[in-house]
Symmetry: C2
Subunit: 182 residues, 2 copies
């Protein structure tokens, strides 16, 4: 019983403790970690089980550098990532909410799988012209949606400790939870 | 080293193994499980850390019944859920993708936290008139976005075993992963 209880507590703490980590070291990430991350990504649930995603895994430092420095792009952490993972969504204009919602689910799982391997991860967002430029760099067809490119990497603990922290990292439960109705 | 390796493997398997479970028993869920689920939800990351969500926890069987039987609603599993959790998003029309992406991240974490407690969970979607009706039932202001209502509950193992399964539950890695570029 104690073992079961502690396993539950450990998994909840694992989930609760996930943070985005943008301070990464430009070192390779272990192949088994990357394999696990992709496997967890692959099994993500999606609306109608369409699995509206393809992933581009990027190790090339020059490409990561280009992606991380796109004007108006929001992924400067890619410059020092061990690997980038571009989430190329279907671009289905009839169901844009499927793409976006499933992209969120997929991102969360990739971050958690990285965390399981004690790697850091961060979400880069590319919209408008920045997305077009990212597509050009990666050769992604213009009809697809490319908005999220994730960084995975070895944590730069010193840089992470020095980061700016918000005064209130999260709202309290009392602020966000209603019972039975609004 | 073995302990660390097995812990990583356990967490990856936990993530990889998550499935939506719509076959639930109309039994109460433990208070500590619900508390953990809400705590994990609360710590979900969001675009610009806006945390654009409020949650309504629903135990009342009559309300769950009403929500689960809304015409054109997509949450029949709510009828037998131990609890429902409505994800009320900001409704910010300038950044609808923030709401939707963060809603996806939040949903995934709620499902995983339920899984940690060996509870089943499922996503119900309500759009158009079905969303309006869900808002009316729960008293949610019309300017908010209410699309996702999740079921949490004790798994009906027999019903789950008899479910229809897709021929190919997920695409293979070869089908979805590109190296370096598209």
């Amino acid at each position: 019983m104690t073992d079961v209880t502690s396993k539950v507590a450990e998994q909840i703490e694992f989930l609760r403790g996930l943070r985005q980590i943008r301070q990464l070291k430009p070192e390779p990430i272990p192949a088994d970690a990357l394999r696990d991350i992709l496997e967890v990504a692959r099994w993500t649930g999606s609306a109608r089980n369409i699995q509206p995603w393809e992933l581009i895994v990027i190790h090339d430092r020059a490409t990561l550098q280009k992606l991380g420095t796109i004007p108006d792009g929001r992924g400067p952490h890619l410059v020092n990532a061990g690997a980038g993972i571009a989430l190329v969504m279907s671009g289905d204009l009839e169901h844009p909410d499927f793409d976006t919602y499933d992209e969120g689910r997929l991102s969360e799982r990739i971050m958690l799988a990285a965390e399981a391997h004690e790697l850091g991860s961060a979400i880069g967002w590319f919209k408008g012209g920045a997305s077009d430029e990212a597509k050009r760099i990666l050769g992604v067809p213009s009809v697809r949606l490319l908005r999220t490119i994730m960084s995975i990497g070895v944590v730069d603990a010193e840089g992470y400790d020095k980061r700016q922290r918000p005064a209130q990292p999260r709202k309290s439960l009392a602020d966000i939870v209603h019972q039975e109705r609004w």
